[in-house]
């Protein structure tokens, strides 16, 4: 008897009113399943729309996409500015969530656009905070060569006291 009462007491201490009015569980379950189903459908539709959008707006012969990654888990990237052929093509201010996602190894697609085949001049300006909390500013240049296929370039930021920006063609 004591054992049962002790269990009851423990459960009581957990304190949640795990009931939801007089709504049958089956109704909640059925609704939840329908919500899951519509999520699946809309994800498919979104994927289809994104593919269509990419094909229409950024055809492969002119497409260029620039990505940003941070190779230092403690470097906080604060802002970035991309210039191509003397025109500013992208600017971005990073919030905590963005910084954290980059530090964990995520890669941000910062710019997608269209350019002609041939040579282009890319300039990257970044600012951030080093692991020690000191402000860091850096600029880097890259000669981007666009050929017939789509062009993807990763801007790799590896910063400690002094920023180090490198570029990788994919």
């Amino acid at each position: 008897m004591f054992c049962y009462s002790l269990t009851a007491v423990i459960c009581l201490a957990l304190g949640a009113n795990g009931w939801a009015a007089n709504i049958p569980k089956e109704e909640l379950k059925s609704l939840d399943e329908q919500v899951q189903e519509i999520k699946k459908d809309i994800i498919n539709q979104t994927a289809q729309l994104k593919r269509l959008e990419e094909k229409l707006l950024f055809p492969s012969n002119t497409q260029v996409a620039l990505f940003v990654s941070v190779n230092n888990k403690k470097f906080a990237l604060q802002d970035i500015e991309l210039t191509m052929d003397k025109k500013i093509i992208a600017k971005y201010l990073y919030n905590f969530r963005d910084q954290s996602a980059l530090q964990k190894g995520g890669v941000q697609r910062l710019f997608t656009g269209n350019i002609n085949t041939g040579a282009h001049h890319l300039v990257v300006h970044i600012s951030g905070r080093s692991p020690e909390g000191n402000p860091v500013r850096h600029s880097a240049k890259y000669a981007l060569t666009k050929s017939v296929g789509p062009k993807f370039v990763e801007i790799k930021i590896a910063a400690s006291e002094a920023a180090d920006v490198s570029f990788q063609d994919w």
Binding site: I10, A16, N17, I23, L31, K40, T46, L56, N61, G105
Partner: protein, 624 residues
């Protein structure tokens, strides 16, 4: 039923509150996979799943998928999609994907991982027996990354399926692990209690009650354990022990109100009325929407009554009645507000989501109902899930609204392109056909030359390298030779001339062949440039055509599907919203009924206090 609810809650504490943790950092081989991770790390589940779906779809559609860089992340990507789907509460799809992995030809380590995740989904969905069957598919060696969680999950499933001994045995093996510290101890106490091991259960609970940690969830767990122990000893009449445990509950923790209320009742049971007033007076001053505080509003004057301070008691009962009256009015207003749909509007407001206490913040918004009363309801799994679904549906509705205008813009863009390219391409097509014929002719000539030079490298053919003059000369000499009545001198001269030409062809053969070879290679350069130009033209023409052709049907189909989804989302949102309203109203009505009972009690107690105060006064006056 309550036991399972509680167990489920324990599980939820550990797992549901987690944000998507993602894989261990590894060298990145696929840029687009990295992009999906970026979205996932920001908890943008929908975008991350869509990105990964696109990537995996393209990966599997390829003939030579092994050459795709995603091959390095394939398994990881599949699991991440599953994890993200779970985070996005798409358990069905995640479950199906995990089942496919388990039944597929995969290494045991991968099967273990998939089985663990599937079991976790099933357990969360309340299917403990099915979860146990899936857990049986996990074979040693279990990867270190999931070893502790795997054991903890199995112990929880055992607990839910009545195998208390097995559960406590497993929990004892991991109770010192940092990852499950506190939770394993608490669940062990439940398992021991259920198994009839009373003393060990209390000992275990005492251990949880003494846990040292600065983490908020550990402190909350510690408070719960102390509260449970205090309550237990109070019920057994061991007030001293009960007090010791109740005193350990933090005054600023989530269980502080319950502990203070219980502490007061404990003193009342010991007839130490003045002491009961200490915790209750503290409670008396707190937020009046809290159920414990409301009970304390009655308890404090009750204690004063026991101390024969009837005047003070009557005043406090009067105060309680006022508070209850106000609260009932607030509840009525809130119920009306919910019925008018203001609750649903309020929960979708952006300003309500500024922090994790958004539900409380709702009360501060204009026209919003009293959400403080819904805090208990918020702890219920069904309400939480319904609320999250409602938010997700609102987000889907918002997305779908932007898709249709996008499609309209694309159609317009396609129409403009078609308008521009169609006449231009028609003219170009005629010119191109002429050019194409000439190019094909020249390329055919070049092919023949290539063959001839190749054959001359094997068989000596000097005649092939004769110049046009030499060809004509030889032809003229042959014609002259065929004439009748040639005199001997002329025939001799013709033969000599033929000999000169042949001699030249033979003697200059190597030099001529080399020159021909060099010339042919120069021709190859020109032909390559021509082909490049040709291909660029074909490609550009193809791109121009592709920029407006072949979209009409896909766009029309997509529009129909999006419109259909919009209708479904609207319907589901209305149903989900209705259920939320029903749940919220039921909770508020439950609280109102409780308050109405308190009002009646307070009214009677007030009258009784006045009577007793008057009697006491009369007695005092009668005394000489």
């Amino acid at each position: 039923v309550q036991r399972y609810r509680s167990l489920a809650l324990c599980a939820l504490w550990l797992f549901c509150g987690q944000v998507w943790a993602g894989p261990e950092a590894k060298p990145l081989h696929d840029l687009f996979y990295g992009e999906a991770l970026y979205l996932a790390y920001q908890n943008r589940h929908f975008d991350a799943i869509t990105r990964l779906d696109i990537e995996l779809g393209q990966f599997y559609a390829q003939d030579q998928a092994d050459l795709d860089p995603l091959v390095f992340h394939q398994n990881e990507a599949e699991f991440n999609v599953g994890d993200l789907e779970i985070s996005y509460r798409m358990h069905q799809r995640a479950g199906r994907a995990l089942k496919a992995i388990i039944e597929g030809k995969v290494p045991q380590s991968v099967r273990n991982l998939a089985a663990f995740r599937l079991a976790r989904i099933l357990f969360r969905k309340g299917q403990a027996v099915n979860a146990l069957h899936v857990m049986d598919l996990i074979k040693d060696p279990v990867a270190e990354a999931i070893r502790i969680e795997n054991t903890f999950l199995k112990a929880q499933i055992y607990l839910a399926t009545g195998r208390f001994k097995d559960s406590s045995r497993l929990l004892q093996t991991i109770q010192h692990e940092e990852k499950v510290r506190g939770y394993a101890d608490y669940n062990l106490a439940i398992a021991l209690a259920q198994d009839g091991q009373r003393e060990q259960a209390v000992k275990q609970l005492t251990k949880v009650g003494g846990l040292r940690s600065g983490k908020p969830y550990m402190l909350a767990l510690r408070d719960k354990a102390n509260l449970a122990l205090g309550h237990q000893y109070e019920r057994k009449g061991m007030a001293g022990k009960a007090k010791a445990f109740l005193d350990r509950v933090r005054l600023d923790g989530p269980f502080s109100n319950t502990a203070l209320l219980k502490a007061g009742w404990m003193y009342m049971a010991l007839q130490q009325y003045d002491r009961a007033l200490v915790p209750w007076t503290l409670l008396h001053k707190r937020q009046t929407s809290n159920a414990n505080v409301q009970e304390a509003l009655l308890a404090v004057p009750y204690a004063y009554g026991k101390l024969k301070l009837y005047g003070k008691a009557a005043a406090l009962y009067g105060h309680a009645m006022n508070v209850f009256g106000n609260e009932v009015q607030r509840l009525d207003d809130s119920i009306d507000s919910i019925r008018q749909g203001k609750f649903l509007k309020a929960i979708l407001r952006e300003e309500a989501k500024v922090d994790k206490f958004w539900m409380l913040n709702l009360s501060k918004l204009p026209d919003a109902p009293q959400t403080r009363y819904l805090l208990d309801l918020m702890a219920s799994h069904d309400f939480q899930e319904s609320l999250k679904n409602y938010h997700d549906l609102a987000e889907l509705q918002r997305r779908l609204k932007t898709y249709l205008p996008d499609l309209a813009v694309y159609e317009e863009m396609i129409e403009i392109r078609k308008h521009y390219y169609t006449p231009v391409l028609a003219k170009i097509a005629i010119q191109f056909r002429n050019l194409d014929t000439r190019i094909k002719l020249r390329v055919g000539q070049r092919d023949r030359l290539k063959k001839r030079i190749a054959s001359m490298l094997i068989n000596r053919r000097p005649a092939f390298l004769a110049t046009a003059f030499e060809h004509n000369a030889l032809e003229s000499l042959a014609q002259l030779a065929r004439r009748r009545n040639l005199d001997a001198r002329t025939a001799h001269r013709i033969a000599r001339l033929k000999g000169i030409v042949h001699w030249r062809l033979e003697s200059e053969y190597d030099e001529r062949l080399t020159r021909a070879y060099i010339n042919f290679h120069e021709l190859e350069v020109v032909i390559a440039a021509l082909k490049k130009q040709y291909n660029a033209f074909v490609r550009t023409r193809q791109m121009a055509t592709q920029s407006y052709e072949g979209y009409t049907i896909p766009i029309r189909q997509l529009r129909t599907r999006i419109q259909q989804s919009q209708r479904i989302v609207d319907q589901l949102m209305a149903r989900q919203g209705k259920l939320l309203q029903i749940m919220a109203i039921a909770e508020l009505e439950r609280r109102r009924k409780k308050l109405e009972k308190y009002q009646i009690k307070a009214r009677f107690a007030l009258a009784e206090s006045y009577d007793r105060a008057n009697k006491a006064k009369a007695l005092r006056l009668q005394k000489p």
